[in-house]
Symmetry: C2
Subunit: 404 residues, 2 copies
């Protein structure tokens, strides 16, 4: 379980498969984001129809609402959201460091204010792992300290060092839970024990012999030496079944993100799946696969879809534009999704202009399908050894101006 197998490589680009308790994920793969336990405007049936294999949900959001206890009472996250394929939960680190409102960071914990009702909450690395254990996704993420894209070296180092210390605590707690030890151990040399009131986490057994793996998140901002050091020290804390690269696509220029990926690529162990968090847009997916990335997540396809912006092979299309008024063509003639095989651009434009809910859903559906197909096409091009040529042709068409 949690084994990653490389099927093919083509330069740094990789095609693989990741075996998880709820199924196998073929990579490169795009993971739709179901922040609150639902991929906005899409049903599990929609997600299956467009070939989603792995869905992300958010620990912070589910913790503040409805609470992991409610999810557990309702059978765990898979049952709760009726998604029987693999799930990954983000740790909440990104949210508590990026959402507005009160926040107090100490070595032990992050205290923050719920965006829902302003109530105070505390997440420790242990608690973040416990919440995710209770939710029961296939993959849990370690609790990390995220800094903005432009953070200077001392700030980025401080956050990276804390992330590494927290990683140890996450891993220890996760190992205890995996061994079936519900009690929280005091940490060696640390007088602050986890609060006694923390109940032993309840974990419904949705699958027989269900298990969960924990992945670390690499931080280090855009500082290449920090990133290299952080990677090595993270690997030293292993073994791991996968690695996430965090703290990118958080406001830094694109070339910096690519620079970090270029610097990390030769150092990343081939045997581990590599997950670039919060990416992305179509062009970013291609550029990151060129740099050896296997997994992606991003709200862009659903968020942009709700704003009327659709991905197409010829670049983005704003469906609200008057030019689409009487256009009988599909949004994307190459696409096999329900939106593109059923409706005209003229109808989709009408839905957006008339503020009809179906429009939000149809563009979200297409955009997610677009990224899933994009990942599948890259996988095929890697397998045949044609990836560089495919990528060049894809980029030429995608960035050609005014083609739609």
């Amino acid at each position: 379980m949690f084994e990653f197998t490389l099927d093919a490589t083509c330069g740094p680009a990789r095609a693989g498969r990741l075996a998880l308790p709820h199924g196998t994920v073929l990579t490169p793969a795009f993971m739709p984001v179901g922040t609150q336990g639902t991929v906005r405007a899409l049903s599990p049936q929609d997600l299956r129809a467009i070939g989603a294999e792995l869905v992300l949900a958010n620990t912070y959001h589910l913790h503040v609402r409805p609470g992991e206890g409610v999810v557990a009472q309702l059978g765990g996250l898979h049952r709760f959201m009726a998604w029987d394929r693999p799930l990954l939960t983000d740790s909440g680190g990104f949210q508590v460091f990026s959402l507005e409102g009160f926040r107090r960071v100490s070595e032990d914990a992050v205290e923050f204010q719920s965006h829902v009702d302003g109530s105070r909450h505390t997440l420790t690395p242990e608690r973040a792992v416990e919440v995710q254990w209770t939710l029961g996704a296939d993959i849990a993420m370690a609790f990390d300290h995220v800094v903005p894209g432009g953070a200077d070296e001392p700030t980025a180092r401080d956050a990276m060092e804390r992330t590494l210390r927290w990683l140890e605590r996450c891993a220890r707690r996760h190992a205890e839970l995996t061994r079936g030890d519900g009690k929280t151990e005091g940490r060696k040399g640390d007088a602050r024990e986890a609060p006694a009131r923390t109940p032993p986490p309840f974990r419904p057994s949705v699958l027989p012999s269900q298990s969960q793996t924990l992945w670390p998140i690499l931080q280090g901002g855009s500082h290449l030496a920090l990133r290299a050091e952080g990677l090595q020290r993270t690997l030293d804390l292993g073994p791991w079944t996968g690695l996430a690269i965090g703290g990118l696509a958080v406001g830094e220029p694109k070339h910096m993100m690519y620079g970090v990926l270029d610097a990390l690529a030769p150092r990343l162990p081939a045997a581990l799946p590599r997950y670039l968090m919060g990416v992305g847009f179509p062009g970013d997916l291609v550029a990151a696969v060129e740099r050896g990335i296997d997994l992606f997540d991003c709200v862009a396809p659903t968020r942009n879809g709700r704003n009327g912006s659709a991905f197409t092979p010829d670049g983005p299309v704003n469906i609200r534009n008057a030019e689409h008024r009487e256009d009988p063509r599909p949004l994307d003639a190459t696409c096999d999704c329900e939106t593109c095989t059923t409706f005209s651009r003229g109808y989709l434009r009408h839905l957006f202009v008339a503020e009809e809910l179906l429009g939000l859903r149809l563009l979200s559906l297409h955009n997610v399908r677009f990224l899933i197909r994009l990942a599948a096409e890259m996988r095929a091009a890697i397998a045949t050894g044609e990836f560089p040529r495919w990528a060049a042709a894809w980029r030429r068409r995608y960035t050609q101006p005014g083609s739609t």
Copy 2:
């Protein structure tokens, strides 16, 4: 075509079938409302999955946005909204008389202001028929003058008389269009011809030998003598392939609506399907079928669904209520829809509390399915002669307090 066959009767209650160009509708039947060419939050695929046989769209709304010309350019209403089963278009009479804003009624026309951009529009009976012909639904409705539920006899008579005069004009224009005569005839004894600028309506041939029928709408408020007179005079203007009863469920007390239906029931020709416009809620459907009604439409299932209110056999359920927080049960254990076979009440409540779009869709889907199943159950009970017993048992359960 447009033939209505009675399969069974049980007292005044009837089970029948209505043959239309795009398919056959089994009655009693509930028609979901797709005001702007989409049943809010539901896709055509959803509607097929829950057994919808006939969908209503709105002439007024489609005329002001996107305009019937756009719909025609995009292949007609069936193709536009990707609904290949029967469609009915309301005439716009109800909207121009009930929406807020400027309105001027003359014998010839109603001038009104678009709710979208405040622009002035004019609908004549001829124009309402032409717009519907251009949209291309299976059933078009005559342009009627609707008055509020509490209107006094002179007001109701005035509107009814106008509705009858307009019906003649609608029928004449519809006959011309059906004969393939695109030109507008001057009306005998009427100097005001339809404006010369009206283009001959364009009608895409979606189906070979496609045709459309026109149904009259009975008015007369809650005045029984007026209703009886209006019915007779409407029938005298026929023959028709169906009859609609308008001007009910517009604010009058329930017993008045039932009184009108009771008064009409023995006078309605058995051979014509009877469509009670704008009804209803589950209890109203049962009461109206008891009084010989065959067809219904109402925004209640989708509008209430979007507000978190669900129909169940035990009465309405507000899914936002805290009692559903950890409830693993389906919304309606007797229901076969995607919502009820997939999700818990706890999850549905979470979707509403977290303001997730999927909640709007799932409750709309269930509520429409609930009315379609209710109609199908009534049909079955009529066929076996058990309808009165069935209705009594249904009502007992539906109105029993606090059962969910």
